[in-house]
Amino acid sequence: MGVNLEAGRRHGAVKSNEDSFETLFAAEYARVAGIANRVLADPHEAEDVAQEVFIDFNRLHSAAAPYAAAWLYRAAAHKALNRVRGRRRRERRELSQAADEGGRAMDPQHVFETSEDRRMVRQALARLAPKPATVLVLRASGLSYAEVAQALGVGIGQIGTLLRRAEAALRKEVTRGTSL
């Protein structure tokens, strides 16, 4: 009897853990994927990153943890930035494909410029230090100052300064290659 009770309790705990993971997933998946996409500008890859982030989270943390959303946002930004750093070669290939495809449909020069600008911006973002890059990505993804502060583990009063410096740094990085 004692054993059954114990097993039942454990089963209940597992069930409620799974339930809260599903609730967390439903509430945050789109936003986490959006953050990754902000960095990658590639919805498929962004979803890959978002799913990896949730798998990592679920492996080590309780979905009921109060820091769950903040953890997911930061992890999505970091993981996506790491991918940009590691995919330079692949990007070049995709870029030339995009230019070829675009040539059939619309002004090739325009497509090339859009695609090239995006690539430059993503590369510039990935060259920034992790903290400023993350501030920019999270804020551009629609997080409030409070949410950005929580995800970075800094005081809300620092966000204005961090954003300002990050924006100046990104502009500088990008203007080294294009006309932002």
């Binding site: 439903a26 789109a30 959006g34 798998i55 080590l60 300002r164 924006e167």
Partner: protein, 366 residues
């Protein structure tokens, strides 16, 4: 009044009402702040422009099923816990023997079940792997038997851990980033073991290994050491069931472990502490350096020596909760620990986080 800071001006770009009344007055009268604001706003607009993308469309149900079907992840860094792997037992035995030997090194008088070892503070003793390998198991010097077996058990709550152990269960303050707040509690009542020296057994074991032992002091043969450990409580942070391992030796490493135990107590009948120290330190293979390190401990009867394998770990003395403690590891996040003794209780905090974070957790225990 001073000019508005960059952060304040940047905030104004996102929220017109972010300025206080006095900031607003200053801003409207200050050409310098207005010019800086214009530059800040231009950067902010330009960056927002380049980071703008069409909204991503997601199918949450299919993404969730994809996540659910992902294979169980391997522990990070591929670390496997070497728990009770047969091959590791001799090594563990040697470490344990070394720990006991250094822990038993005491001064003072120790006659007839006098308490001669009850640590109140901790001190590192550097040992090399060669030192550890040269020490044979304590079991070769006599026999050991539990008179009260250790009975560790996993319990469901802090309250139950308190009931089983009779100890106050430490409560953690803020946790390091990324550490799960899921806690598994374990508790153990006090356990008592008796070690009886046996000169014949020790000589036979040494002869088998081709060594000659120094003669046991008279009175040591047959004398007993009674060792009391615990009660103890342990809190393990992290979801231990997630990413379930397929084989039993492979578990997720806990992110953080907090433990508390009553200080161990050793009592003796017959052998004096000085005899014991001299005898153990004269064993073949105990390097002069190790012997010197042990003898240099100022008040061994109240000091718990922590063996630090010098090739594998570094340690430093730190202040924890107002007392001396010993911190191991570093700030790489691969692993760190701190141990200290306060009011008759040995505390330890260890985890796969930075040493600075471990110390922060230790200092916030209450």
């Amino acid at each position: 009044m001073a000019h508005l800071s960059e952060g304040t001006l940047r905030r104004k770009f996102d929220d017109e009402d972010a300025l206080t009344a006095s900031d607003t007055r200053h801003f409207s009268a200050c050409a310098d702040c207005q010019a800086r604001y214009a530059a800040i706003a231009e950067d902010a607009r330009a960056v927002a422009g380049v980071l703008t993308l069409p909204d991503i469309k997601v199918d949450i149900a299919s993404a969730l099923s994809h996540v659910r079907s992902a294979p169980a992840a391997q522990p990070r860094f591929g670390i496997r816990l070497p728990i009770i792997r047969p091959a590791s037992r001799p090594a563990m035995g040697i470490v344990a023997a070394a720990a006991v030997i250094v822990a038993l090194v005491v001064t003072g008088v120790a006659q007839d079940a006098l308490v001669f070892f009850q640590p109140k503070t901790v001190e590192p003793v550097a040992v090399s792997v060669a030192d550890l390998q040269s020490l044979s198991g304590l079991s070769e010097y006599g026999t050991f038997a539990w008179t009260k077996e250790p009975a560790p058990q996993v319990v469901t709550s802090a309250a139950e851990a308190g009931t089983v152990s009779g100890l106050h269960v430490p409560v953690v303050g803020p946790l390091p980033n990324g550490v799960s707040s899921t806690i598994t509690y374990a508790a153990m009542p006090e356990a008592v073991g008796v070690f009886t020296f046996d000169a014949a057994k020790a000589a036979a074991a040494a002869a088998k290994a081709g060594k000659t032992l120094p003669t046991m002091p008279s009175g040591m043969d047959g004398s007993k050491l009674t060792v009391t450990v615990g009660p103890a409580v342990v809190e393990i942070f992290g979801n231990l069931n997630a990413g379930a391992a397929e084989n039993a030796t492979q578990l997720n490493l806990p992110q953080l472990i907090v433990g508390a135990s009553s200080s161990p107590v050793v009592t003796s009948t017959g052998v004096t502490a000085q005899e014991l120290e001299n005898y153990l330190l004269s064993q073949p293979g105990v390097s002069p350096k190790l012997a010197a390190a042990i003898r240099s401990i100022k008040d061994p009867s109240t000091t718990l020596p922590i063996p630090i394998p010098i090739e594998l770990a570094t340690s430093k003395n730190v202040q924890v909760q107002g007392v001396n403690g010993l911190a191991l590891g570093d700030n790489t996040g691969l692993g760190a620990a701190v141990i200290w003794i306060k009011s008759g209780t040995v505390y330890g905090v260890a985890g796969t986080v930075k040493q600075s974070e471990i110390l922060d957790v230790a200092n916030h225990l209450h």
